[in-house]
Amino acid sequence: MIQNLIDGVLTGSYLSLGAIGLTLVMHILRFANFSHAELLSLGAYSALVFDALMSGLVPTLAEKLAPLSLTWALIIAIPFSMIVTGISALLIDKLIFRRVREKGQELSMVFASFGMALIVRNIIGLIFGLSPQLYSKDIAFAMVLSLDPLILIKPDQVFVLVAALILMLILHLVLSRTTFGYALRAVAENPSLAQVNGVNLPRTIMYVWLIGGALASVAGVFYGLSHQLIPVMGRDLVLPIFAATIVGGIGSVYGAVLGGFIVGIAANLALVVLPSGYTPSVPFLLIIIVLMIRPHGLFGEARA
């Protein structure tokens, strides 16, 4: 039970990172982006490439940072992967979503994102192969936190949690303390009014994609560290991330953070009562429960 709770918190840390970008895009561009989870895969795989590149160029970087299974090479690869994923998100918007948007087909955006998800996921499969991959083939030994009851925790998991919390703190400071943060919230509130007040809408949308993509890439790497890299990981992540945004209330960054942890903990706690085969259904049950008792989520507001 306590083990499940701990695992849930760790699952929650990467779900939250993924959900933040999704909730921002859904709030500002007003469409459910089914391809957001593919940005996690993209980030995870580009980190794999940069990791190999770094280790190849500077072999000393490939050494493990005991007790983590993490290497310096991978840590350096993460910022590169954030940039690549952020720019990819921007490009996808420029090439596809913006064109559909400009044709005035707001609802079609959802479907365009379905198509995009299929394309990205399968191109990754073609390039990297369909079999699972790992950042490090060494087994990371778990630390025993307590013997009674037996609770195990991997050092990597602690790193993931701490890093995720630091990133969220930085985002919080940016959103609450900078002009850019105000502009972003103004656009989310009322795009036309924000524009009248001199907020550059296209540029704000650009930053939303960059931030969303960058956070998604970190989430993808963390997912890869906790599990494994597989081209269809986006398919398995899309529903939990959506559930996190709905639980938190679409548009609320803090809601997305909390929602991510709630979904992660619920999915792991469900293992206590349900056979593990049913885990993929848990996010859906959570969505249904939230829609029944609090349709706009924990922090969301009603908006047409």
């Binding site: 459910a32 479907f111 198509g115 995009m116 394309i119 559930a243 709905i246 859906f284």
Partner: protein
């Protein structure tokens, strides 16, 4: 010769069944603007529902009600309808993304349940042992497939006529009115959420019908039949054919199913052996590209919706002969 002919019948049967599902989606998306991201769940509910209700009793499984075929098919449709009603009730009052996400979630949960619940649906092994209707009278061979194809075609035509009438009726006008401007419709005293729910449930029941026929055709259904792939295919059919146009929906179904079949055959025939593993990926990239390409370059589809003004106003210019 008979081989080609029997393959054509097989192809046309599958395409017609899918066309029925596309017609159901067209009512939801094309006419009402409802995004159903889980077509396969309602299709699957129909298939599983029909086979479980109409199948023989099996050890360790619920079901085996051995209902007569029409009852089983109607039962399958009802299962799809009830599922749609629950999802619709929860999401149709909210902004449109909620429906998209919730329906997508239904599909994930449905497949997950069918794969795991051995007591209900046989788990990964699926539901077997279904006796196809009239098999004793007609036998199992080519003749049966031909008769079945004609039956499916008649059902497709009936569905088409039903939907054409529905769309032309005052209710159809109401659907389009809500799709175009919800507040305007509301100001005329209409209840958008109730009308949407009706359209959503009706469309899902039609998808359930398609699923029931699919299950009957193969006399077998397993979790492999209810993968998200089917949702993408049905969507691609509607987008390519032309959302809002029932003829476009049927045309798109045959076109995309043809393209899917041919591309699968060509890839397995001509792709090098070591690349065979990836033919699925290539097909998915193709279907994704078709969807995105259509939305970018021709969002109205090949056969666009024709908007007809059903009643000309009293403006004399519009009157005939004047």
């Amino acid at each position: 010769m008979i081989g080609v002919l029997s393959y054509l019948v097989f192809f046309a049967t599958t395409a017609s069944i899918l066309a029925i599902a596309v017609l159901g989606l067209n009512l939801q998306w094309g006419n009402t603007g409802l995004f159903n991201g889980g077509v396969v769940a309602f299709f699957g509910a129909g298939a599983y529902g029909t086979l479980i209700l109409g199948g023989p009793p099996q050890e360790g499984m619920v079901g085996g009600f051995a209902l007569t075929y029409p009852m089983a098919l109607l039962g399958g449709m009802a299962v799809a309808g009830v599922m749609a009603w629950i999802v619709g009730l929860l999401t149709l009052r909210l902004r449109h993304d909620y429906l998209a996400i919730a329906t997508f979630g239904v599909a994930v949960a449905f497949e997950n349940l069918m794969r795991n619940a051995e007591w209900l649906a046989g788990g990964a092994k699926g539901v077997r042992g279904f006796e196809r209707p009239f098999r004793e009278a007609i036998g199992d061979g080519f003749l049966y497939n031909l008769v079945f194809f004609v039956a499916v075609l008649l059902i497709l035509i009936a569905t088409y006529v039903f939907l054409e009438r529905l769309v032309a009726s005052p209710f159809g006008r109401l659907l389009r009115a809500i799709r175009e401007d919800e507040e305007a419709a509301q100001s005329l005293g209409k209840s958008p959420s109730r009308v949407r729910l009706t359209a959503f449930v009706t469309g899902s029941v039609i998808m359930g019908l398609a699923g029931g026929l699919y299950g009957t055709f193969y006399a077998f259904v397993s979790p492999q039949d209810v993968l998200p792939t089917l949702t993408f295919q049905v969507w691609a059919m509607l987008i390519v054919g032309g959302a809002g146009n029932n003829r476009g929906a049927v045309f798109g179904a045959f076109l995309i199913w043809g393209a899917w079949t041919i591309s699968g055959w060509a890839l397995s025939r001509f792709a090098p052996v070591e690349a065979q593993l990836y033919t699925g990926s290539v097909q998915f990239i193709l279907i994704g590209a078709v969807i995105v390409g259509m939305l970018v370059w021709r969002p109205q589809g090949l056969l666009p919706e024709r908007l007809i003004v059903s009643q000309q106003g009293s403006n004399p210019v519009n009157k005939r002969g004047e």
